[in-house]
Symmetry: D2
């Protein structure tokens, strides 16, 4: 493969971030851009000298793609990945992979059948600080995990509709659930409480603005993942893994290790967003799925945890078992 | 009343802290000291020139007390408070007030009948930083609350036995539950996960060493209170009350206010332990129950929350409604 | 004046920052751009639809300017300000105002004769956090001042030549000297030690890479201003004003107040660079010099302090009296 | 030597700290206590079952001592060390070793002639965090050093009299000068500014309450050591050693290392005060002077630096060369 020919489905904010990153990686051509908003597709196409589409089926028919970035809202996933898989195109999907578990499992099935390279955009897995945390936690007894995404309300409309985005837990805090899974292991049960407390006046909003989710890990550890989108300022975001003599706090900016008499803070040197594309491109070029740190099957498990949390919140905190996808997902 | 004559039931660590504080307050006489461990009773009696007892019934018969400090393990509460109430002696009880709700309600009944001054040692309520937090939070929409007691294992035997102490949630983190109630309001439902992860080798220990408790407040706010006693170092302790534009983090040492573009940290100037005795003595002298920041009835409500958390943990996270004690407790 | 017509002499990095800011201020037209590097002049001219020059004399002849931004290295100041003053054009000069005191005094003379509005780019004076520090320090006994500019080596060639830039003290740490003067008052004597310790291998560099300057203020306070340009990381930058019960630490990002039992950190809300241009434009429009927080005369005093520090360093720490410019500069 | 028999000259605050430490070290007997205040001598003698003296000459005559701790104000040093040396008694002296260089050199002469074990109480040299700083700085290019002792006024009378204590620089900040010397090397020149700004109303006080001292190291590095005793709160204390890619900040509580993208804070595990006595006792027992981290000769060099700073301050900042004591002091 001389160069990797990449198409985009969805040309919004996160897609543009990926385009910028890909344009800095050698051996990548950005050739096709699809968006239901024609203006956005054309703008990207113009910028990168590619073709614009409003229908991804047409794009798959007309273009010879090696890989596709699918960067669309959770509810918008229909057959994008399935067509890509059937066409033998490698797939990079933004998190969360879908709005429902049924849709995600349908897509997973197609991907597995096709054997295409697949990667999901849980970029926290690609920080060097995350590697370091994983390394230093190895062999330690993890007692509990505290996770946080405490911030403000994203600006996009669909995010505020529970039926479109799934709300903060499913759409945003999914990063924290996934990182907790990556550092500690599978989550098997959840119990959640959510509420709408401060954002009553935001037009059309029907998602909660605060939430706490207790989690039970398969290895016996427990934890809580808390989130809010009501803040007018920044606050804690990250995963704090707690062992008797080492606490690792992984955040966007770096990792902090707390030990008896010693505290160390290390800023990430590697940009997680950039590096996940570097790795994906390498995997596509070398047809080596094992380079990928979060494949589609693994991302479906993270989705399953957050959907279980939604269900628990709807049932007023009743614990919900996370479906065991190991048989299908491994 | 020329001076307040105080007796002690229980002469262990926390009792000695109260003795030291009381000895610095004008108009207080420490006259009687009772402990099942005769040595401890005698040591205190010698130090303060009072009488030693091993049986509190005898102490109540022989001494003319104005007030009694009851500083005993949760399971050890039998008729100490009841006898005090019947004798018309003002009561200062250390938290938690009992090991079971039935016992606490029986004691509450006796206290209410007698009308004696009563106070419970939730000293977080007496910090000036707590006042400031309450003041600045007034009128704000509280979205959520995060509470923490993350530390090591206390040295006393009974603490490690669930049937004696109730474990960390009931015995220690009760401070955090109480402070959350004081700052935010009544808690009506809880869901808890606990586990024993690291302290398997501690002899006779049968309490969990990690726990997370989701809480639902009567006013609609939610939160999580997390604790662990497995750490070999210090970590977070306190209550973080979160509103859209003000976060108040109250801890042992002070209070931190986080606002957009502004952070303020204030160390407590007033020692909560000292001041709760100053206030109690004043209340006894002036027969003014309204000075007390946590009466017995209020403390029973905090106990009820933590016992509900225990029950939920036993039922694998099943949410448990906190009994409504307002009728009795008001 | 319908709109303020602005020209630039010097179109490098800091000039572009000012252009960006001015383009966001209503009632400003960027009309002329002069740089000895024709490419830079043309690039700016193209961007803002103005005219490009390589000779500022020509620019003054051909353009009808209301104001000129002079953003050139210290040694490059010849007659730019003088011509502007003679033409009645308001002057915004970047710090430091010149490489020698003689040149600065010659320019000051011309400005005073002309009466044109004049402002120097000591943007620390325009932060809201600086206002707050000034306000809270009012009436306090300032004992001492610690100032810092601890960072890395700027990328421009002339900065590394002592005869061009004056070195870090004169070119960069001048901000800190000026802020100390603004917060505390005039500096009357200095004693400096400098050395070249780590940057031996930087081609053509003949400026020291570490320095400490003891300062005596007219009001009796003392202090030290320390700087280094040898770091491969960020470190302290700012002015710390120390009184018995209040320490104010003003930095780029905000101000921190330290009091007994209380610490407060406030991020600047107002961008100093932007606001200094807002104020300058307003002063030009209203012909009101009193709005300006650092006029040319005041900036000359700051230059005099840093040049005295250079002289002291050259004389191995011998204290040097700062020339009294109050008669001329007031 | 079965056990080390220790006498004390001076039984004030710091002496009591040393007594407490020595009483916890095996193989040490506290046998004699001398103080011009008889009450203090008797109190110590009673506590440790030793003999009390008000005249140290008498003590040396009557007691068979292996070592003596000399803990007296700077101006009070007369012949205490000389008599000890002549009697063959090992010497532990508190810093600073004298009020004048002449007296210190006279004592040094006597100590050198006698060959007794000698140690000076610069306990910063004994922290494990100091070891770590020294280790990590090895081989680095030290550019500059910032030192601080910023705090309140000590409670003892003699401290406030320049003729008795030498003031803060000589008496207190001497720790910082010594630590800078220990970490970086000899100081050869100083220039100081001091002032009395806030403590005018303290009765009899004639020492400055603020001061900054520029220092030139023999190896070419420079720095500033700043102090104040006017604060009503705590502030910075310690030595910050600055290299291009590693900054080590050593303080009372620990050491902080700052590197590009990485910060590490380590609390001292070893109590410097305790450990300096452990080492001194071991040196006495094994007659091994090489264990001592600050011998008398080295401490005289630190004294010489601070006295040079005093002289410079008196001469309004005129730089003062530190006398070269290497010939005498080695």
């Amino acid at each position: 493969m001389s160069s990797v020919r990449v198409g985009f489905i969805g040309c919004g904010g996160i897609a543009n971030l990926h385009m910028n990153n890909l344009s800095r990686i050698e051996g990548v051509e950005l050739v096709a851009f699809c968006d239901v908003d024609e203006g956005r597709a054309k703008a990207a196409a113009e910028r990168f000298k590619g073709n614009a589409y409003t229908d991804h089926r047409q794009m798959f028919e007309r273009e010879q793609l090696d890989a596709v970035y699918i960067c669309i809202p959770p509810h918008a996933h229909t057959d994008q990945e399935i067509l890509a898989a059937q066409t033998g195109v490698a797939i990079f999907v933004e998190k969360p992979v879908a709005r429902t578990l049924d849709k995600a499992l349908e897509i997973l099935e197609a991907i597995k059948k096709s054997g295409v390279i697949n990667s999901v955009g849980y970029h926290f897995r690609y920080f060097d600080g995350t590697d370091l945390a994983k390394e230093r936690l190895a062999g330690k007894t993890i007692g509990m995990v505290m996770g946080y995404w405490m911030g403000g309300l994203p600006g996009v409309y669909w995010w505020r509709r529970i039926e479109m985005s799934g709300g903060q837990i499913v759409e945003q805090t999914t990063h924290i659930f996934d990182l907790a899974r990556y550092l500690v292991g599978d989550i098997v049960r959840v119990s959640a409480a959510t509420a709408l407390r401060a954002l009553h006046d935001v037009p059309d909003l029907n998602v909660p603005d605060v939430g706490v989710v207790n989690v039970w890990f398969a290895n016996g550890a427990i934890g809580c993942i808390a989130n809010t989108c009501m803040l007018r300022m920044g606050y804690t975001t990250g995963v704090h893994v707690i062992t008797p003599d080492l606490i690792a706090e992984v955040s966007w900016s770096g990792v902090k290790f707390i030990e008896p008499n010693r505290t160390e803070e290390i800023r990430h040197q590697r940009n997680g967003h950039f590096y996940e594309s570097v790795v994906f491109v390498e995997a596509v070029k070398t047809r080596n799925q094992s380079l990928i740190r979060c494949d589609y099957a693994d991302a479906v498990k993270t989705l399953a945890v957050t959907l279980a949390a939604l269900e628990s919140a709807d049932r007023n905190g009743e614990p919900v078992e996370v479906p065991n996808l190991s048989a299908e997902g491994g």
